[in-house]
Symmetry: C2
DNA sequence: ATATTAAAAGATATTTAGGTCTTTTTATAT
DNA sequence: ATATAAAAAGACCTAAATATCTTTTAATAT
């Protein structure tokens, strides 16, 4: 549903939100190691988020990624929009060109319930909401197997 | 979510169920044309369904695809299983290796509602259920733009 | 038996997603 | 000013999904 790029982005941002701050920036290498993600690939994704001002970064010594106050309140949907686009939330579950109440596919009624349910979640929750869950110990972005 | 192969399969089966029968088999060419699907590619997918006894076919003059009584009652989930596998219905929405109630990702609770809701639908509905909808004129598998 | 029709099978091409490696730029500390 | 650290950028590679084309096999009607 979400591409790998997109879930990598989400997990990385939450990791940065949880572990970093404006005066403790997080290097791409650390993010990649902690989340078991391919560093150079992730780098591309985060660069794009920086360009879209969803994430902040600085180069040089003690540089790295961080999120400012504004970014923390960005909705998850915005990240999805930038990385994957929003077509999933408009598309027919059976891939038909037009699928609407007036010309529905045979799964239309059932499918839109879930599609719109997801939309609601993604358009409501913010990065900070997820960070908070992680801070409270009620959720994780690192794999269980990552022993460190 | 579902691959193109998979939604092609579903639409094609419903088309065959709707338009064909054991003594009026439907050629792959007709299916491809009516549903705007790439014929040879679709052919591969249907071949695999035939092998799995989800769909029936015969070669030669007046040959083609059809579904017998048993096949009509097959659950959609079975088709998904054969074409895509069922991993989607077990996988974490954020792609984490382990994501469960005891080690959840930050979207776990929200995501499983969606994932399991879809599972319910696909494991309940049969091919005939979809065919019926089409027969009643309450749903379509052909694109609106397909004028024919 | 033979011709014909249509699926099955095989080989190959294209596109997209995912991933790696190298070089360049820029910020900071010395 | 210079060295260094780290992101940015660019070139390239790989694998999987999707798509096309050709040949083979099998069923049927004549």
């Amino acid at each position: 549903m979400l591409s790998k790029s997109c879930v990598y982005a989400l997990r990385a941002i939450v990791y940065v939100g949880h572990n970093g701050s404006e005066n403790h920036k997080i290097g791409i290498k650390e993010i990649g190691e902690e989340l078991d993600l391919p560093v150079h690939f992730l780098s591309k994704i985060l660069q794009s988020l920086v360009k879209h001002n969803i994430l902040q970064s600085t180069k040089g010594p003690h540089g790295g990624f961080y999120i400012n106050e504004v970014s923390g309140e960005i909705k998850l949907l915005r990240i999805i929009e930038v990385v994957d686009g929003l077509s999933f939330f408009h598309k027919c579950g059976l891939g038909m060109h037009e699928c609407s109440d007036s010309h529905p596919c045979p799964l239309h009624d059932d499918f839109i319930v879930f599609r719109e349910g997801l939309y609601k979640i993604f358009s409501t929750k913010t990065i900070n909401d997820l960070v908070k869950k992680v801070e409270e110990g009620n959720a994780f972005v690192r794999n269980l197997s990552n022993k460190k």
